[in-house]
C-alpha cells in the first residue's frame, strides 16, 4: 500500500466500517474514565477540533474540561477562554486547583477577529487548551479552524448550540451534552475518528456544586419571617 494510504489509515481518517482501529493520533485523557473508554481509551484529540453541543450552560459542561485544565495549567501551558458567554469565576477556578496565571480570557468584537485570534492561539506552542464560544459560524470557517488546529498540537473545544448537531462539521470529535438525573451529564458521541459514533455515557457531575448523591438536600427549612415563594 502506498505511504499516503498508510498514513490515512493510521490517523484513522478513513472510516473502515466494522473494523475497530486503535488510532495513533495524539490525545489528552479527559479525566473521566467512563468517557475515555467510550473514546477508544484516548480522550480529547490534540491538533484537531472538538465540539460540545449543548442547550444551556450550567449542566456541567465546564466540569468536563476541568481535569484537563488543571493538568495543563499546572504544567505551564496556557488555557484560553475565547468569548465566554459569562464570566469565568476566578474563586471557583482557584478552588478547582487551576493555575490562574495561565488562564487568559479574550473578548473579540467580530467574527473576523474571533477566527484570527483562535487561529493564532492554536498555532502557538504556549497554548494547551482553547475553549471558544463562536456563536454562528459557517462550515467554511470551521474547516479553516480545523486546518489551523492541525498545525498546532493543542486541544481546542468549541461550545455550540445543540441544534448544530444535525449539521455536519469537520471537527474530529463531536459531543452532544444533556443534563441527566442526579445532576449528571449525559454525553452522546455524534462523531469521532476511527470508529462508529453513537456511544453514550453518563458522568456524575454532582460534585461540581459540592453535592453528593444520595445525600438528602441540605436546605435549611426555616421559620422565615415572610414566606419566600
Amino acid at each position: 500500500m502506498s505511504e499516503i494510504l498508510n498514513t490515512l489509515m493510521q490517523d484513522a481518517r478513513v472510516w473502515q466500517g466494522y473494523k475497530h482501529n486503535k488510532t495513533t493520533q495524539p490525545a489528552e485523557p479527559t479525566g473521566y474514565q467512563a468517557l475515555d473508554n467510550q473514546l477508544g481509551g484516548l480522550g480529547w484529540p490534540r491538533g484537531a477540533l472538538s465540539e460540545c453541543l449543548l442547550d444551556a450552560s450550567g449542566i456541567g459542561e465546564l466540569n468536563l474540561l476541568i481535569p484537563l485544565m488543571q493538568r495543563l495549567s499546572q504544567a505551564g501551558k496556557t488555557v484560553f477562554w475565547l468569548n465566554p458567554p459569562h464570566t469565568p469565576y476566578a474563586p471557583a477556578l482557584a478552588q478547582a486547583e487551576i493555575n490562574l496565571n495561565q488562564v487568559i480570557m479574550i473578548q473579540t468584537e467580530d467574527t473576523g477577529d474571533f477566527l484570527w485570534t483562535l487561529e493564532n492561539c492554536l498555532r502557538s506552542r504556549v497554548t494547551g487548551l482553547v475553549m471558544a464560544w463562536p456563536g454562528r459560524l459557517a462550515a467554511r470557517e470551521i474547516r479553516r479552524l480545523q486546518l489551523a488546529a492541525e498545525t498546532g498540537s493543542n486541544v481546542c473545544v468549541l461550545f455550540r448550540e445543540r441544534h448544530y448537531a444535525e449539521q455536519n462539521s469537520p471537527a474530529a470529535l463531536r459531543l452532544e451534552l444533556e443534563p441527566d438525573d442526579q445532576q449528571g451529564l449525559k454525553v452522546n458521541i455524534i462523531k469521532r475518528r476511527g470508529s462508529w459514533p453513537g456511544q453514550r455515557c453518563s458522568l456524575a457531575m454532582a460534585h461540581r456544586a459540592g453535592l453528593f448523591y444520595p445525600e438528602a438536600p441540605r436546605v435549611v427549612q426555616g421559620p422565615w419571617p415572610t414566606s419566600a415563594r
Binding site: Q74, P85, L93, A94, N99, I106, T127, R208, G210, R218
Partner: protein, 472 residues
Amino acid sequence: MLWLYLHFPHLLLDHILRSSEHTAALVIVEDSRQKVIQACPAARDLGVNTGMRLKTAVSLAPNLGIIRADEQQEARILEDQARWLHHYAAHIVLVPPNGLLAEIGSLQRLYGGLPAVWQTVEEALHKRHLTAWPGIGHTPQAARLLARTGKGECTSDKGNILHTLGLMPLVAAEFDRRTYTRLQRLGLNTLGEVFSLPPAEMARRFSPETLAYIQKIQGSRSDPQEFWQPPGYFRQQADFVQEIEHSQGLLFPLQRMLSELENDLCWRQQDTDSLLLVLRYRHTEPTLLRIRTSGPEHRADAFLNLISLRFEQQPLQAPVVSLQLSVKRFLGREAAGGQDLLGESQDLSEAWHTLMSRLQARLGENALKQLAPRPDHRPEYAWSASRVQLKNSAAQIKAWQLPGRPLWLLHGPQPLTEAPQAWFTGPERISGGWWDGQRVHRDYYIAQLNNGQLAWVFRDVRDGWFVHGWFG
C-alpha cells in the same frame, strides 16, 4: 592624536533616497534663491548640476522631485549619523552642517591598525547607503580640509599629511574672502607657501585669527574640541518625497528603521517594550501610534509584525509625508534563564510574549484579561481581571475556605423566572459592603432548574429571587 573627518557632500539627499523604494530624479534646492545645491545621480544623468537655477533644472528634467533644504532637519540627520558612528568611536564632534569628526588615534589598537579602522567605517557607510568623503589628519582642521577636498588618505604619517596639505590650492583652504585676496596678491598659490611664512610676520600682516587657523592646521596650536554625548533615547525619521498613501508603503522604510533600532538595542544590551510612531501629514494633525509588546523585545521582525497588524486595524487618515520612530523606555535584557537544562522555558516565555503582543496589537490591550480571586465576601467583587502579564511564580493554590462557588458568574444577577425543580444546599448568607456603599444582603442557595441547569440563586432583602451563576 589622530582625527578622522567624514564629509557628507549630500547628506539630505542620501537620507531621502534611502527611505524611498524607487529612485526618481531628485534635487535639493536652497531655501531662498531657488538654486540647486544637491543633485542625485539620476538627476545628474539628466544634466542637472549643482549650482544650476531651478528653472533650468526643471526644464531639463520635468519629473524632478524638489526638496527644500531645512537647517533643522539637516542638524537632526547629522546627529543620526553621529549615533551610529558612536558605536565605533567614543569621541565624536559634530561639525554642522555636514561633517563629523572622530578621534581615531585611540582606536588603532582595538581594530588592529589604521587600515582596519578605515575599512570598518567605510563598510558602515556603505551599509547605510551614505556617500561620505573621509579624511585623516593629525589635527581636526587638517582632517577636515583633506576630507572636504576629497584628498583623504589612510595614513597616520604627519609628514605625509602636511605634504598633501601643502599642495592644496589656496581656494580650497577656506580662508575668509579678504585674507584669501590678500594672500593671492602676495603671489601665494598653495597652502604650503602659506605654511612657510614666518609666524610673527603672519600675525602682523594679517590677523592673529589667520595665524591661529594656520597653526591649528599645522598642529602647533591646541585646538580643543567639545565631544558629543549620545542622547538617552532612540529616534529615527524617514521623510518622503512622494507622500505615501497606503500603509503597506510605510513598511519598507520601517524595516530599515527597525533594523537600526535592533542594532542600537543590541549595542546598548537592552530591550524595549514600547515604541512610538509619529505619522505626519501635510495638513492635518499628526497621528501617534504607540506599539506595545507584552514583554521585553528587540527583534526588528517582531516589531514589524506588530506594526503591520496595527496598520491593518487603523488605516491611514491622509497621505503621510514623514514617519518618526522613537523609543524612550529601555529595559534591562533578561539573562537567559538557567532553570531549564534544555533552555526550553526561555524559549516558551519568548513564544508567550510574541503571541500576547500579536493578540494585543490586533484586539486592543483591553481585550485580553487575566483573572484572579480577590478577598471579598460579595461574589461580584470576589474576582478581578487585570492586564496580561507573564507570572512565572508557582500558582498560589491554598485551601479555599468558602463553600462551593459556580464556575460561571453572570455579568449581573438575572431575575429567576421559574420555580426551581429541586433545592440543594442553602442558605448561605452574604452580607457586607456597608463600607463602600455597595451594600449586599443576600441568602444564596443552589437549585436545579427544570431544564437541568444547576443555578446559584439568591434572595435579596426585598424578597426578589435572582440567578447569579451557573454550575457549569
